[in-house]
Symmetry: C2
Subunit: 464 residues, 2 copies
Amino acid sequence: MTNYRHCRTLLPLLLAAFVLPGAAAAEKLPNIVVIFCDDLGYGDLGCFGHPTIATPNLDQMAHEGQRWTEFYVAACVCTPSRAALQTGRYPIRNGMCSGQRRVLFPDSKSGLQPSEITIGRMLKDHGYATHCVGKWHLGHLKPHLPTSHGYDSYFGIPYSNDMDAAPAKLTRKQRFWSPQVEYWNVPLMRDMEIVERPANQHTITKRYTEEVQQLIRKNKDQPFFIYLAHNLPHVPLFVSEKFSGASRRGLYGDVVEEIDWSVGQILGTLRELNLAENTLVVFTSDNGPWKSFQDHGGSAGLLRDGKGSTWEGGMREPTIFWWPGKISPRVVSGMGSTLDLMPTFAAISGAKLPADRKLDGYDLGPVLFHGQVSPRNEMFYYHGSELYAVRQGSFKAHYKTKTSYVGQKEAVVHDPPLLFHLGHDPSEQWDVAADHSEVLESIGKLRQQHLDGVEPAEDQLVKR
Amino acid sequence: MTNYRHCRTLLPLLLAAFVLPGAAAAEKLPNIVVIFCDDLGYGDLGCFGHPTIATPNLDQMAHEGQRWTEFYVAACVCTPSRAALQTGRYPIRNGMCSGQRRVLFPDSKSGLQPSEITIGRMLKDHGYATHCVGKWHLGHLKPHLPTSHGYDSYFGIPYSNDMDAAPAKLTRKQRFWSPQVEYWNVPLMRDMEIVERPANQHTITKRYTEEVQQLIRKNKDQPFFIYLAHNLPHVPLFVSEKFSGASRRGLYGDVVEEIDWSVGQILGTLRELNLAENTLVVFTSDNGPWKSFQDHGGSAGLLRDGKGSTWEGGMREPTIFWWPGKISPRVVSGMGSTLDLMPTFAAISGAKLPADRKLDGYDLGPVLFHGQVSPRNEMFYYHGSELYAVRQGSFKAHYKTKTSYVGQKEAVVHDPPLLFHLGHDPSEQWDVAADHSEVLESIGKLRQQHLDGVEPAEDQLVKR
């Protein structure tokens, strides 16, 4: 890919001429913005049914765009989910999941390997300005940070906002229910330098938003990709003064409502600069709600369980695609995944997908732009490095289950597998395995085929 | 009220002159349409978060109007819930709830008493054309039918569509999972006559819809009130050919999608006749989903339990108010109830509320038309004739609970009561009674005050 890196100014124009059929040669490549939340539940937005969290900006975004009701992340916790989004590959293929550690921690010595190609790298090589703002969580040491992975700039907390707990002796209740900035010694970085420690988390959503607005302004005359990964609503919950007490949902709602405000600011900036009709914006989150934190965690709505489990609540996320004038507004009830973002972005920009490795995504363009059904017909649900469940069409088979963070310590093996029809039974309540042996057989084959095609990479999460 | 009954033609004009401040004297009184479903769950519409039931017409209606996320019925089963809507009174005040029988049955000898004043009666006395279409369930004998209660006409099945089970020996599974028209000997009535028996339930939603469209056309030049109470999605589920297999949610979804189609037809007819801007349409349901019927029952979304319980899932309903040009579109997170429809309709029409009896509703006009907070700050949750729970502000205290139809046979008494903050915890997961003794005390007083103000009427449900 190195041959591309020195011709950033010419490439967009050259490529626009032939990669977007029907587009005028002078038409700019589309901008792309991904807004990625942390631990936001399927049921936490107004437009996904929450009764007391007000999200007027996201509701409007959904009304103008497409609201996807079966959109998956590729892991039920943070690090592997983000690795999948960035690379378009199940994390088992790049060592970003593990049978021993759930995610990367401040003592981790590794991260996303330099050989991996991120969306940032792909689009930078194609002439995009690329910027990462917010939580990275794919390695906080230099070889693994965003600016080592194709991003022109980085501004954010490199891992979870509850890591680096400061040494003060506090009960879990004190630490999380009345959080103070100094309880967590989390660093705020600009590119590869720490610029604030502990990061003032009260203003973090606001500062991320302003950073994104500045980046949009700065890049208004060239194609850009911005990956904004909020650190919230992951616990500990922090909110700016303006939103403190704003929501009927309490502190958790305040935090989500500030993120909703942020979305409004960003879409507003795009509109103000006449960029809206040339910008695809995607809103989603990394995994389900952290239910063991009670009302400081979110809601998966009608879905079962949450973060840390392969039930739907752990891996299905409230997702919105927005591109005024390009995307025909509707609710999409069909599968999509963060794995599909890379191929979709490649298709709309003409960027080249990595050809030397197995990717797991689909171009969602036919659904977004042409009213077609989703090309995705299967999903593999990993728990760490182990495949727990497989969905094919409307059916999902659980080979193993484990209730997220609460209660159940050991995974339960299901033989025969549990089988649910997610169309009829999105809450996974009624096992229909006995009536559908042919479905179980078909899913079994698909599972084996997938496993045969996976060569697990060296586990990077255990290194410390 | 009898003095009003003979001046139907003059009254609308006379009243319009002074009851609607600012309205031109010649302006017509607003039309009112209530669309009331049967056993539809809080989570069963697209705009309330269901992933596989497509409700584009209701979603659009919600976008153009107000979507209410804390709207209550006054009972967790059919008959008392309908009595409350029609009279604006808790059913304990008019004998339409019971400690012995949940609802009225085909062997019932009584129903809503002639002394009760329905919305139909109130508006008819005010000069409206009044029509009832669909399920009545307030008595199928002559003194209790809609045309004895202020409605000019009635067309519908007078009670639940699973009553009058035909004598064929069938298992519950056969009867409900592969329903045939002849399994239920339910009558279809026009006014006071049975016109079809068993009613062909496959076409019932379609026929109700066409009846309403005809009534709108017939009354286009005079104010009308139409109460359309669908018999579905109550089990047994029936759907017309056009919608059979239409939904990814299976038969239940097909049925809801046909109701969504029906809503589109009705709003379309109002638009076509230029009546939309003079018509208030309210969409809601009678109680939560019947969960013991598995995927033939609906979903309460993130709310707990369903039909037959005083948990939120039993009594909170997906509700939409629509009146183009009058209602400012938004999501309303504040309490409302079917009890409030009568006072609200009285306020917008100038009709006179019954002055000789206790009503339990509020005029919701300030919320609908003026962006104010709801005047309703409390809700009383009855289970049969017994008060199980009380909500005041965001807090709900359960004095007694009973899990709907499944499992738990005896009610559980809670002393101290369970206390939930429904703003922070809409799913009623975390009892906060220990931290809020002052709230419990306040709710206790409110409860006593309410009970002191209630004189239970003679139970009409036990009569057979």
